[in-house]
């Protein structure tokens, strides 16, 4: 199988502008940042959540707490994954009770990751509200889950993959659409 890059969906500056827009939208819709907290889903949701929090500092001058969530233990496909998935610790150092939480991830696809993340969150307490923020929504949902804050919606086919590459993890900064082609 060959992986072919078909198109660039976002450049570094587009990612940056999109995240700042999302930060504004979240603050506006939440009516302030008092009970607001961001939860980045490992891996690429984590730097995205941190960058959105950084942008919010510029808007409201407040530090919005950021937590990270590893969803491996909450997956529903444990018996289908090849071998030990390497676990990482979740790190949510604030209480989630009564909080207005925004889950942050790079790509929204089947919705299963978000289902798992919500299970993880509710083990920590009872948030007042949970919403979802993604950089890319590529469709193909298998769960009744939608994002309230979307960077960009992209029509994709099943064989295509969206790769969000972030400088914190991938040493480059762009979003690309790649395709799997049978030889």
């Amino acid at each position: 199988m060959r992986i072919v890059e078909k198109a660039q969906l976002m450049s570094a500056s587009e990612i940056d502008r999109t995240l700042r827009r999302l930060a504004h939208q979240i603050v506006e819709k939440s009516g302030g940042t008092k009970h607001l907290a961001l939860i980045g889903i490992r891996r690429r949701g984590v730097p995205l959540a941190q960058r959105i929090a950084q942008a919010m500092r510029g808007i409201d001058g407040v530090d919005v707490p950021v937590g990270t969530l590893d969803i491996t233990l909450y997956r529903d496909d444990l018996s289908k994954v090849a071998t030990h998935a390497v676990l990482q610790s979740s790190d949510i150092s604030f209480g989630v009770d009564q909080m207005d939480l925004v889950l942050v991830d790079d790509v929204l696809y089947t919705g299963r990751t978000i289902r798992a993340a919500m299970n993880g969150l509710f083990d920590l307490g009872r948030p007042q509200r949970v919403s979802l923020c993604v950089l890319i929504d590529r469709g193909h949902r298998e769960m009744p889950i939608e994002a309230q804050f979307v960077g960009r919606t992209v029509q994709t086919s099943d064989s295509e993959i969206i790769e969000v590459r972030l400088r914190e993890i991938d040493d480059e900064e762009r979003v690309v659409l790649v395709d799997r082609q049978e030889p």
Binding site: A82, H84, D91, F122, D123
Partner: protein
């Protein structure tokens, strides 16, 4: 890194990288112990068989709790209630358990090598929860995790192990683990419990010395591992409790010989006033309760890794080695079949 672990029978064959991986994978489960809701559904529908052919309270409860916090069910076999009393062999007993289709077997047995023997006959993962005087791998891991949490590292430490070394599988698992990280060991206790052979149980290059005077053995120690005085084994040649207290009890005054922040570990159950004073057991250097909490995290990690990474779950991709292919553990099993057959009675 990641590696395929089929069973956990001993720490001796594992490399430093593999041991570090197991400790790292226990950390997320430590976090979960602090959640208001501690129960996961990760292993929902899986069953863990707990077969304890030797008395155990805390290890059995710890494994049982670890299984239930992962969402797995348990089946329990306890020696007193089992048909072993009616003369059934070890192999028949575990094969009967296996026929009830558990996904993992956790077992403790009074014979060294019993878990290894059973693992060779079963196709499910086997975790050794203590076999005779051989090893108690999950205890070794939870001790190392506790030390790493407190001191930030497990490398190049001076570790003093105190008590009945000869009968201690806990001491052996600790030496096999910490020895791979350059720790140096001082073994101390009455001479008949610290035989000379113990100096050679570590891998080549691991420094193990015997010291019979406790004050001297504690000099410069980073970690003091106190073993239980096994009163049930106190037959001839033995030592009276009074003499043991006089010579080997860890008290606050003696502990001052060790480094100022030296850790005190005890695998439990403690005999307060015998091998350890209440002042030390409850003091700031004591890690006894952290060891218990960490035990659940380590055992959750082991159950998760062994059950979720089972060979039958692997799709037929090239990276997935089929069960029959020679793996180091498999090899070892087929070569030393004979010397463990005694464990079946």
């Amino acid at each position: 890194m990641t590696f395929r672990l089929r069973d956990l029978l001993a720490l001796e064959p594992l490399t430093a990288d593999e041991l570090t991986f197991l400790l790292d994978q226990s950390q997320p489960f430590q976090t979960i112990q602090r959640n208001p809701l501690k129960k996961l559904a990760t292993l929902r529908g899986k069953t863990v068989a707990l077969a304890f052919f030797e008395n155990s309270t805390r290890t059995r409860i710890s494994f049982g709790t670890a299984a239930s916090r992962l969402g797995a069910d348990t089946m329990n076999l306890q020696a007193e209630a089992s048909s072993l009393k009616k003369g059934e062999s070890l192999l028949d007993t575990v094969q009967t358990l296996n026929a009830m289709k558990p996904d993992c077997l956790v077992m403790r047995h009074a014979s060294s090598g019993a878990a290894d023997f059973v693992a060779r006959h079963l196709d499910i993962p086997v975790i050794n929860a203590g076999d005779g005087t051989h090893e108690h791998p999950s205890q070794g891991l939870l001790d190392a995790l506790t030390i790493r949490d407190r001191l930030g590292k497990i490398d190049n430490l001076n570790v003093t192990i105190l008590g009945d070394l000869q009968h201690s599988r806990v001491a052996r698992s600790n030496i096999h683990l910490l020895g791979k990280f350059g720790c140096r060991f001082t073994l101390c206790g009455p001479a008949m419990w610290v035989p000379k052979e113990l100096e050679k149980i570590g891998a080549p290059g691991v420094s193990i010395r015997r010291v019979f005077k406790l004050e001297e053995a504690l000099e410069d120690a980073d970690v003091v591992l106190v073993l239980r005085v096994q009163t049930e084994r106190m037959h001839e040649p033995s030592i009276s409790n009074e003499d043991y207290v006089l010579g080997y009890q860890l008290n606050a005054e003696r502990l001052r010989r060790a480094k100022p922040n030296a850790l005190v570990l005890h695998p439990g159950p403690m005999n307060r006033g015998s091998e350890i004073t209440p002042e030390v057991a409850d003091g700031p250097q004591s890690c006894v309760l952290e060891q218990v909490t960490n035990g659940i995290a380590v055992r959750m990690a082991l159950l998760y890794l062994l059950i979720s990474g089972g060979p039958e779950d692997v799709p037929s991709e090239p990276q997935a080695a089929p069960k029959e292919e020679p793996q180091p553990q498999r090899n070892r099993r087929s070569t030393d079949k004979k010397d463990l057959s005694h464990a079946s009675d």
